[in-house]
């Protein structure tokens, strides 16, 4: 039982800075000895006769927030699906931290440290927020079915670890009031936050976000943006954002890639890209 008076001294004298200094996940950015987290080389994807992604090449640097913009049907989401392993490319390679992951399954990529969120938050709608976040930790589960049936010591230990990890993300994204709520009944802004929480609970080094701000109010966008910046600053996590909201892209991203008809037509700092005549042409229609 919690009695404030007994604990008040402990609470008053607690050095909160310790939480920030000692924790292993709060390491300095960027990652050492690597010039990239992700390198996409000559990716080609065809759906029948349509070339969705055409010889796309780019690099995501450690600790970078990369924005991918472009008109509808430019191949942005397809590219994200390829990086997360949902589609296989016809040609090209995907390299994650000096390792070729082109042939790996989505689950293996998650274990390596690539997490992803969805455009229409594809959550597990009849499960609670906590269960949703913890189900993202499934690739790291250590106990067998028999151990789970007996609720053995290894099961307890792992479940406790997973719960603690979920609680960290709940803290980060301020999901406390919704912990035991069924996700399907929550407003879309909170659902997006749960989707991000599920990805961040996996402690990824690269987060792929498909239109994180689509259909959100200004306050909800600010919440998501704050979480992205905080994780990027404190953990050195890289982000790839596919986004239509150019205001967000200009403010948030370190670098922007513009795609049109499956090709990369511009790559550079946000304000440079915004003035690029090719980009203006693609958006305004030549």
């Amino acid at each position: 039982m919690f009695f404030a008076r007994q604990r008040s001294k402990e609470v008053r004298n607690f050095d909160y800075q310790v939480l920030w200094r000692s924790s292993e996940e709060y390491r300095a950015r960027p990652l050492p000895r690597l010039d990239h987290v992700l390198r996409v080389e000559d990716i080609v994807v065809r759906f029948g006769g349509v070339i969705a992604v055409d010889n796309v090449e780019f690099v995501v640097k450690p600790g970078e927030i990369l924005g991918i913009v472009g008109p509808n049907g430019a191949g942005k989401t397809t590219l994200l699906n390829i990086i997360s392993g949902f589609y296989k490319p016809q040609k090209g390679r995907i390299i994650f931290k000096n390792r070729d992951i082109t042939r790996l399954s989505p689950a293996e990529r998650v274990r390596l440290g690539i997490a992803r969120t969805f455009q229409h938050s594809e959550l597990f709608t009849s499960m609670t927020v906590l269960e949703n976040i913890m189900s993202g930790l499934e690739p790291w589960r250590k106990y067998s079915t028999l151990a789970a049936a007996l609720w053995s010591r290894s099961t307890k230990k792992w479940e406790e670890w997973a719960r603690a990890r979920a609680e960290q993300v709940i803290d980060l994204l301020d999901l406390h009031p919704y912990r035991y709520h069924v996700v399907g009944s929550l407003p879309p802004g909170v659902q997006k936050r749960v989707d991000l929480a599920r990805a961040l609970a996996q402690k990824p080094e690269l987060v792929l976000m498909d239109e994180p701000m689509a259909g959100l109010s200004r306050e909800e966008k600010e919440d998501i943006a704050r979480a992205i910046v905080e994780v990027n600053e404190t953990r050195g996590t890289s982000f790839v954002l596919v986004e239509h909201d150019l205001e967000v892209v200009m403010d948030l991203c370190d670098r922007v890639i513009v795609m049109d008809y499956g090709k990369v037509i511009a790559d550079g700092l946000p304000y440079e890209v915004a003035r690029n005549p090719k980009v203006i042409e693609a958006y305004m229609g030549g």
Partner: protein, 335 residues
């Protein structure tokens, strides 16, 4: 003063018995279950054993259909595999206490194979495939395994240390113990990561695979576990009856099992299955008595019941109970 029950560790929050009322209810329930055979006659014991057997089978189907979302209409035939394995082992002189676990494992293996179509099929198509499986197994029972409609299980294989297990108190307590163990294991699996993975596959299999859940393995595991429970139910059925025939493992039984899951509460492994088994089992006996002249009516009533629950109350009786609890929690105030 703290107003309510507070948890200080994550494990306490994940425990099965979280509130004092849970413990009280458990003790009361155990007392009733243990004292029941003293108060009830031999007819009551037989009915209770049949109910517990169906409860175990319903828990198995609840893992497959309620938790992992894979509709299966072959639970009756799988129960038959468990029962026939026990019966044939008993014919070779194997004691039932050895044969029942072997039968459950055998059924789990068969169920795993039968779950293979679920890797490719979904929804109605999977239900059709499972009906095909049920038909094939039923045909096998009728023509090869049990061609004379009835295998009587040797009396002496049901005796251990001089006690006959196939009747009365010994049977009741054995089945009760097996049921409690099965329920505990089901509850533990339901609250573990395996249960969460199964629910994730049920809700959104595409996103489950991108999040890193092995969808194929999860489905296979659900079918194997569900069949393990069906096999255990079948084995206990073979223990409780002096002879078994394929009439007990037809499509009717499978539909009854599905009705138990849907009416009781899909996804609520223990309480949903118990409520479902209780409702359908007693309801079935009552209907059979009431409409003895025309059996078609009881099928119509059962079908109507399933339809009503699927359309109006997808959470089953558990959902109704939860709403009642919420209403009375603050009664007479509205909020």
């Amino acid at each position: 003063m703290p107003a309510g029950v507070f948890k200080e560790t994550y494990l306490a929050d994940m425990a099965l018995l979280r509130y004092p009322i849970h413990k009280a209810a458990l003790i009361a329930g155990l007392a009733i279950a243990l004292l029941f055979p003293v108060l009830a006659g031999s007819y009551g014991i037989d009915q209770a054993v049949a109910l517990l057997v169906f409860f175990i089978g319903a828990m198995g189907l609840n893992i497959v259909t309620g938790l992992a979302g894979q509709i299966s209409l072959a639970q009756g035939a799988l129960m038959g595999i468990g029962a026939y394995t026990v019966a044939h082992l008993a014919l070779h002189g194997v004691n039932v206490l050895v044969a029942i676990p072997l039968g459950a494992i055998m059924t789990a293996a068969v169920g795993f194979v039968l779950g293979l179509p679920s890797f490719r099929l979904k929804g109605y198509y999977l239900a059709m495939a499972s009906i095909a499986v049920q038909a094939i197994l039923e045909y096998m029972f009728k023509t090869w395994i049990d061609p004379h409609q009835g295998i009587s299980i040797p009396y002496n294989t049901k005796i251990i240390t001089g006690i006959y297990l196939g009747k009365g108190l010994a049977l009741y307590y054995l089945v009760l113990g097996a049921t409690l163990a099965a329920a505990l294991f089901a509850a533990n699996i339901g609250r573990s990561g395996i249960g969460r993975a199964m629910k994730a596959v049920r809700d959104n299999d595409v996103s489950a695979s991108v999040v890193g859940i092995n969808v194929t393995r999860t489905k296979a595991l659900a079918f194997a576990l569900g069949s393990l429970y069906a096999g255990l139910a079948g084995g206990l059925y073979a223990l409780a009856n002096p002879s078994i025939g394929w009439g007990a493992f037809t499509l009717d039984t499978s539909i009854e099992y599905l009705a138990m899951v849907l009416v009781g509460g899909p996804g609520r492994l223990v309480w949903g299955s118990l409520l479902g088994a209780l409702t359908i089992h007693t309801g079935w006996s009552l209907l059979a008595g009431a409409f003895a002249a025309n059996a078609a009516i009881k099928y119509m009533v059962l079908g109507g019941l399933i339809a009503i629950f699927v359309v109006l109350e997808p959470d089953g009786l558990i959902g109704i109970l939860r709403r009642a609890k919420e209403y009375f929690r603050l009664w007479p105030f509205r909020y």
